[in-house]
């Protein structure tokens, strides 16, 4: 397996309702609880938890999606992402994402003790991920 010059590996993205993506790629990038990571072939086996961010799949073409939650199992020759919420750019409502971002920013700025800060932060991350995928 280590001899092949081909540096593509299998990427599978599964959601509760469908198989979101299945194909080969040379690199996959996304955001995790430990920070943003990029994966090439022959990565050490690892399980990571996903944080809202942009997912980039580099293969024959570059694909982007907004990945919000789930976890990923990385093996040497495959990456499987179990995504609870994930969207292609054309599934995103830009106006809504903008509004959500503003709302989250306002909550965070107000520092009202009644608002759930962690939740507002996640909402902000999510909205930013959506917006940067469209752009």
């Amino acid at each position: 397996m280590a001899q092949d010059t081909n540096n593509e590996f299998e990427v599978r993205i599964i959601t509760p309702d469908r198989t979101f993506f299945k194909g080969n790629a040379t690199m996959v990038e996304f955001n995790t609880t430990e920070g943003e990571i990029g994966i090439y072939k022959h990565h050490i086996p690892m399980t990571v938890i996903i944080k809202p961010g942009v997912l980039t799949i580099t293969g024959a073409e570059v694909k982007k999606a907004a990945l919000h939650s789930g976890f990923a199992e990385i093996l040497g020759d495959s990456v499987t992402i179990l995504a609870e919420v994930i969207e292609w750019p054309d599934e995103i409502d830009e106006m809504r994402a903008m509004a959500a971002k503003e709302r989250a920013e306002r909550y965070l700025a107000e520092k009202d003790p009644k608002t759930d800060m962690a939740r507002a932060e996640t909402a902000l991350l999510r909205a930013s991920a959506r917006i940067s995928v469209i752009k």
Binding site: I14, T15, P16, D17, R18, T19, T32, T33, E34, I44, P45, M46, T47, V48, I49, S69, G70, F71, E73, L75, G76, T80, L82, E84
Partner: protein, 289 residues
């Protein structure tokens, strides 16, 4: 022998029942196609989730986490998925039977009913029934499962409940559905999972976790619980439609059989009444001569 009018009335009443069951069968056939597809689409997610979590537990040695160790509370929560409507053969009662005949003691169990039929049956049996979640089963959504999952996990963390079970109907294929009772939490350490299932995909190096295993479990297990609940919802809905289709198909066949029998009876009655009238007329005319 019943009179002609009685037989006729009975036949037409069965006829209209047969029409209704036939229509219901057609409706559930269409619904079955859709829900079956949904169940198939999501199967790979649940299988993968189940396998990952189990192999995580198998590989990670002794874990001192309440999700694995339990929290000492004797209360058991049972999420019970049935239908909101009847006329689906044994679909609803099979799940009810499964729970009432299981070794879960009545006093320790709190039922979280998803589906009116299960809720009614369980309160009749004298179980403690928590809030009604019946509206969730009309159109299963992942967010509903998420909400229920986090509610249960909060109760678990607070020590209000010590075990979580899921009672649902497994959709094997269109005609075979089996009720199942599954333990969600605390997780049992899987035995023999590292057998043939894992060998094909066994990684060369041991799996690493980022963050550390305990923290990772803390984040993954809620997702696991949610996905198992959602999977149970989707499979149950498919099973319900399958069961209803079968039940209505049987009902339609029975109605047709009864109509055939009654038609025969009706014709016999008609014939004998004609014969009788004729005999009377002939007898009358002979007496005149």
């Amino acid at each position: 022998m019943a009179s002609m009018r009685d037989i006729k009335r009975r036949r037409s009443s069965i006829q209209s029942t047969g029409q209704i069951t036939k229509a219901m069968k057609l409706v559930s056939t269409v619904k079955l196609q859709r829900t079956k597809q949904a169940a198939l689409n999501s199967k790979s997610y649940f299988d993968y989730m189940y396998r990952t979590v189990n192999s995580m537990l198998a590989k990670s040695g002794e874990i001192n986490h309440p999700y694995v160790k339990g929290n000492g509370s004797a209360k058991k929560a049972v999420v019970m998925i049935t239908g909101n409507r009847g006329l689906a053969g044994g679909y609803n009662s099979n799940v009810v039977k499964l729970v009432t005949r299981s070794d879960l003691g009545k006093d320790d169990v709190i039922i979280y009913p998803m589906g009116k039929k299960g809720k009614e049956a369980m309160s009749r049996h004298g179980y403690v029934v928590a809030d009604d979640l019946s509206s969730m089963i009309d159109a299963p959504e992942y967010v509903d499962a998420m909400r229920l999952g986090s509610m249960l996990l909060n109760a678990y963390k607070a020590g209000e409940i010590g075990e979580i079970y899921l009672a649902y109907t497994n959709f094997k294929n269109t005609v075979v559905h089996e009720p199942k009772l599954m333990k969600l939490l605390p997780m049992d350490k899987p035995e023999g999972i590292e057998g043939p299932v894992d060998e094909s995909s066994a990684p060369e190096a041991p799996m690493n976790f980022e963050p550390e295993e305990e923290e990772a479990l803390d984040l993954i297990i809620p997702k696991y619980v949610t996905s198992i609940i959602y999977g149970g919802m989707i499979e149950s809905v498919a099973s319900e439609n399958g069961a209803r289709m079968q039940a209505m198909d049987n009902a339609t066949t029975n109605a047709e059989e009864m109509i055939d029998k009654l038609t025969l009876q009706y014709n016999r009655a008609r014939q004998s009444s004609i014969t009788q009238e004729l005999t009377e007329i002939i007898a009358g005319s002979q007496a005149q001569n």
